[in-house]
Symmetry: C2
């Protein structure tokens, strides 16, 4: 007899819309007669091995709608990256609770976890349907037009650079904004969408898809200062030298590493400070300021793309529909069908799991320090409606009297 | 014969609403028959000594309305702090251009400049009316209930901490957010308005009005971690030890100083990084993250208080009205008249100029790490309408099966 139980979990870094996907799963699941209980795992996969579940069937639909509009994983998240043994533990718990459908909301690591758990269930002959629901501000899932969470973070970055550009125009100098992104530069490149007038910043954009050379960087900054008397720079935290060594790693003393063995890049202002010091020392420019957008770009309340909200809701809904009406495991993906419209498809888990997408060459200019119009056309509709716009006074100079 | 010429300038750090005050001056001035020309100085007082003026009478009212909604000084700003000789140069230019009214939008340094220029005009027997229009995110002008620009920056800080708290709840650890404010802690204290549920962060708030002791800080963080399993901290960049030495100055190698002789506190992530290192080293907590809000808090487009917008507009309008209908120089100030309503008054320049307000004792809790309800009551109406609200799932735990 069917237990009618499903489980949903959230993993990785929070986004502005990750709870839209959670609520999409819960509300859609509650429509289906075959589903009796919707469980949520507290703090992702760790909540599964610890049997730390909440019953989302007992939550009001009204509060679910409010939670959907709240950023950061409402169930809690985790940075655990399960290996085979960990996934076997997870499967044991899923089996013990007679879970029939497992939904995991997260990035490429989360999709890999889903893949392994699905294999364990298959080996054991246990009928478990496993669906991965995409979520990452990095936009680095292969075969996805884009991923939920990215558009809202991109909107924050675009708005932040629009403001930083105005600030820098009022008080000229060099401004460096460091944006999240280890391998994929999509979020940093979004800074370009904050630009309106031809002389607006960001004047220079550095992404991990291109090798970062400090001498070249200094020459770029100098040329921009010479031309505009000011310079706004967007830099990805993941910039690295030709050997692949992060620029941050060349400087920092104590390097923290995560469960994946990677150097911790976020949560420190070190990279911005280093680049500012280089400019001050080598170019003798006085006013040089650096900001690290840090956790603001993924968690700030009150900066969200309405397109992102509705798509994040729909990938959750579609996940349940694929589980209930279909017969395969898989990863839900957004497919672009117009300018702008989107549809959804279920990709094989193996096609997505553990793979990393980076920016396509057509999105980056030949100079290596700007995006192309193809990228602007790609990103603009995702940022949603009501994007703030910057205006300036038109020039009406007054003739000098004393120094005429 | 009257020239009918007025001049307006913007000084100091940009805010989200500084252009509302500019446009308030321009549009109100254009209503008065006695005013023929409204000049704007490019980059504040520097534009005055350089005779770098634009004619705002030739700008459309439609574009002025759009510029009013754009953050950061549309005329450009400056960090110059004029001494007597500089002010004498300014006066020479004002006289040469037959300026009859001088409006300077800025903080306490700007009000001091207005005071000195007014004295020079008086000594020379030249009829120059001088009005200071308040603007500072620091909220540190004496005798002002609050200053335009502060409410919008406070809103950014409150929304940022609301989001950082959600992020920290999803992925627990220590999070430190460093907020602008050298002597006045108002903006840092605004972090408390991002708090909703009793266990929400910020759990600890450190302002320059209280001496910062690193051992006490570490004990506070440890106690919070023990109680909640996580800790969100708001820290003012201006925190200092008992001798008044900035905590940042105790660490940094190369200290940049501004025209006022102060150590440059903003534009670097060093303070957050130092505090994080202390926590990691002394408390052995693994997940410790620090963000420096930097220039985002004063220039981000798309985070503004509507109360701040309209008050900033009105102080500009009132400045022109005081100049045209009154007979004194002065500094426009906001006076609170209800919950919530405000009126304006013209204070003597000497009463405001060069003085610094800090947080009143009644706004700070006895613990020294929190604000009082009096502060919440003071700040909440200023943040304006439509403040985002955070919601959470209600607890409905599921019984364990394997570890029952």
């Amino acid at each position: 007899m069917s237990s009618g139980k499903i489980l949903v979990a959230q993993g990785g870094g929070p986004t502005a819309v990750i709870n839209q996907s959670l609520v999409g799963v819960v509300l859609e699941a509650r429509r289906h007669l075959g589903i009796q209980r919707v469980y949520g795992a507290r703090h992702g996969v760790r909540g599964i091995v610890n049997e730390d579940f909440v019953d989302l069937t007992q939550e009001t639909s009204h509060n679910l709608e409010l939670v959907a509009n709240t950023p950061a994983a409402a169930l809690g998240s985790t940075r655990d990256k399960p290996d085979l043994a960990y996934c076997q533990e997870m499967f044991k718990v899923l089996q013990a609770h007679r879970i029939e459908h497992f939904f995991n909301i997260g990035g490429n690591d989360s999709s890999d976890t889903v893949r392994i758990v699905a294999e364990e269930a298959q080996k054991a002959g246990y009928p478990l349907r496993c669906i991965h629901i995409p979520k990452t501000i990095d936009n680095d899932l292969v075969l996805n037009d884009h991923t939920p969470g990215f558009p809202s973070a991109a909107r924050f970055v675009a708005q932040a650079f629009a403001g930083a550009n105005l600030d820098n125009a009022a008080l000229p100098g060099v401004y460096i904004g460091v944006v999240m992104g280890r391998h994929a530069g999509f979020l940093t490149a979004a800074a370009a969408l904050g630009k309106k007038f031809p002389d607006d910043g960001p004047h220079l954009i550095y992404v991990p898809e291109r090798v970062f050379e400090i001498e070249r960087f200094l020459a770029d900054v100098k040329a921009t200062m010479d031309r505009y008397g000011r310079c706004v720079v967007a830099v990805s935290e993941g910039i690295h030298d030709a050997s692949g060594t992060p620029i941050l790693a060349k400087l920092a003393k104590d390097l923290e590493r995560d469960a994946h063995g990677n150097v911790q890049l976020s949560g420190s202002g070190a990279l911005a400070d280093l680049l500012c010091e280089e400019i001050k020392a080598k170019l003798k420019i006085k006013r040089v300021r650096g900001d690290t957008f840090g956790y603001l770009q993924r968690s700030f309340v009150g900066c969200v793309s309405d397109v992102d909200q509705r798509e994040a809701r729909e990938v959750g809904e579609k996940a349940v529909q694929y589980a209930m009406w279909g017969s395969s495991n898989g990863s839900v993906a957004i497919r672009r069908t117009g300018f702008y419209s989107a549809d959804f498809e279920l990709l094989p888990l193996e096609a997505v799991a553990g793979k990393t997408r980076t920016m396509e060459d057509e999105f980056l200019s030949a100079s290596g320090t700007d995006v192309t119009d193809a990228f602007r056309l790609y990103l603009r509709p995702l940022l949603g409606s009501g994007l703030p716009d910057a205006f300036r006074l038109r020039p009406n100079p007054v003739a000098k009297v004393l120094k005429a």
